[in-house]
Amino acid sequence: MRHFANWGILGLTLIFLIGPFVIIILAGASAGPNLAFPPEGLSLKWYAKVFTIESFRASFVLSMALAVFGTITALVLGIPAAYALNRYDLPGAETIRTIVAAPIIVPGIIVGLALLRYVVVPMNVTVTVALFMAHTALVLPYAVRVVSSSMHNLRADMEEAAVLLGCSRMQAFTKVVLPNIRGGVLAAFILGFVTSFNQVPVSLFLSGPGVRTLPIDMLAYMEITFDPSIAALSALLAFMSLAIVFVAERLLGFSRYV
């Protein structure tokens, strides 16, 4: 009886987690003209249509660029920050950690509004640059946190050993520290990438004419058209995320770092 209850709870949890995903996949595979579940017949035509919508292509490229370059920038800033926070007894280290984590603690709406009101408008920054800054800031907490945790187990005497064998401090970092936190850096990259790519509230405030990230573009599309292509696109994006995580898991055992 107890056994049965355990399986029941597990089943319900899985349905709760995976159910929406299944519904979206099926809704996108509908043969009918409207977004509906259960689908009215099966076809892949809406999956095909996604690729023909011009604005999706443009916004996909923008989202992709923001996710890749925003995350790389966040790592370039975040890895040295994580290193310094781990290695040195910095005054106010706790404060720095809190500030770095702020973008994920403060609601996105507020971050977006604040950036729009106090950066974009008064400083006359272009929308693309503003989006880039916002996404970098949003990813930075993940970069610092995840890289920090993989650096945590790395003893400082390993670098001292490298120095005594002839390394400069910089060489000790690139030859000894970096190879040993590679997995953490990749994990941070994937988390950052996914966070940035799926980001809605901040981007909502910073989108301008002709400059929209993919999620914002999808919202706008749904306001006008209610066909299954939006479900098809959602399903495709979910598969993309799955593929990235799968490859990372295979290559490096990603789940150890999260």
């Binding site: 390993m158 050993a161 064998l165 000894v176």
Partner: protein, 337 residues
């Protein structure tokens, strides 16, 4: 033995405002095996880190092989250090760990290969080239760390608590290994330890340190037989140390007449030096344990607990028994205050 090879002159080392080592002077000869011995916090590791260049001295100087290296960066000093934790590089296999420093020198590949293989053979690790450090035992990791330092042909090899992470059997094996490697390579070795047995067994000379100062410096035999201070005596196993007042010894518990008049301020006896079963003094046995060739007693006397070893041939005394003992002049070690 040639002249001074490593010279520390008025070396003062600080951590922030705390002075860890005040004005230390020490000369080490070439090819010597020196132990820096002392309890934790005595400044031995700090001194070693300063020699390595990992800690900049507040004042004073360090000369190695006639050259002032006080301000020379750690990676230019040509000093090897075997860390207590070994500090091996987990992402590299054994071969690449040993070859690491040689690769930095951009030596030809053939020389890197031959020196690395030779280094691994010296420590008995031939055949382990492809292993990752995590796939090796503690003793093997230790020897790998030793090989990694040795292939650099360091002027001085420093070892931080080299035997402390090994079990008793490996410790003995590594002790002979270190002596053999030192004989073979002739490298000047300085090792840090808190274990006097380790220092006595391994070192040519022992530097006994306390609170950043050299308490006593000498050969193992000198330190063992002729400690000069109460601290040194206690470290070397003189467990009964008493102040002298006229012709008796005393401490906070009370005093006992000696029957002779010593001319030193303090006297110390090893448990072996206390005669049990006969003598002018009486005490009550509070602890007794069998230790193979002898029995170890703790006798509660007018001086508080006195530790004494009795030959196994003598009749065994039980806890609570009264036991007579003597503090003979012949086995007393005079100490300065």
């Amino acid at each position: 033995m040639s002249d001074t090879f490593v010279q520390l002159t008025d070396l003062t080392l600080t951590y922030g405002k705390n002075i860890a080592v005040p004005a230390l002077n020490l000369s080490i000869r070439e090819g010597e095996l020196i132990a820096l011995l002392g309890p934790s916090g005595c400044g031995k590791t700090t001194t070693m880190r300063a020699i390595a260049g990992l800690l900049a001295p507040a004042s004073g100087s360090i000369h190695i092989d006639g050259r002032d290296v006080t301000r020379l960066a750690a990676n230019k000093r040509g000093i090897g250090l075997v860390f207590q934790s070994y500090a091996l590089f987990p992402h590299l296999n054994a071969f690449e760990n040993v070859a690491f420093g040689l690769r930095l020198q951009k030596l030809p590949e053939a020389e890197i290969k031959s020196r690395t293989e030779q280094g691994m053979a010296t420590v008995g690790l031939s055949g382990f080239e492809g292993r990752k450090p995590a796939e090796m035992s503690g003793g093997q990791q230790q020897r790998l760390a030793l090989a990694r330092s040795l292939v650099m042909r360091p002027k001085v090899l420093l070892l931080d608590e080299p035997l402390s992470n090994l079990d008793a059997r490996l410790r003995l094996e590594m002790r002979t290994e270190l002596q053999r490697v030192q004989k073979e390579t002739g490298v000047t070795m300085v090792f840090v330890t808190h274990d006097q047995a380790e220092a006595l067994a391994l070192a040519d000379r022992i530097v006994l340190m306390q609170q950043g100062k050299i308490e006593q410096l000498g050969t193992p035999a000198q330190l063992y037989a002729q400690p000069e201070t109460a601290f040194a005596a206690e470290f070397m196993g003189f467990e009964n140390i008493f102040k002298v007042a006229g012709d008796s010894v005393q401490n906070d518990h009370g005093s006992l007449p000696l029957g002779y008049r010593p001319d030193s301020a303090i006297l110390a006896w090893r448990p072996d030096g206390v005669r049990v079963g006969q003598g002018p003094h009486q005490g009550r046995v509070t602890a007794c344990s069998f230790a193979g060739g002898h029995r170890e007693y703790v006798i509660d006397s007018a001086l508080g607990p006195v530790k004494a070893n009795a030959d196994i041939a003598l009749p065994e005394a039980q806890i609570g028994d009264s036991l007579s003992f003597d503090l003979p002049q012949a086995t007393a070690r005079p100490l300065r205050a």
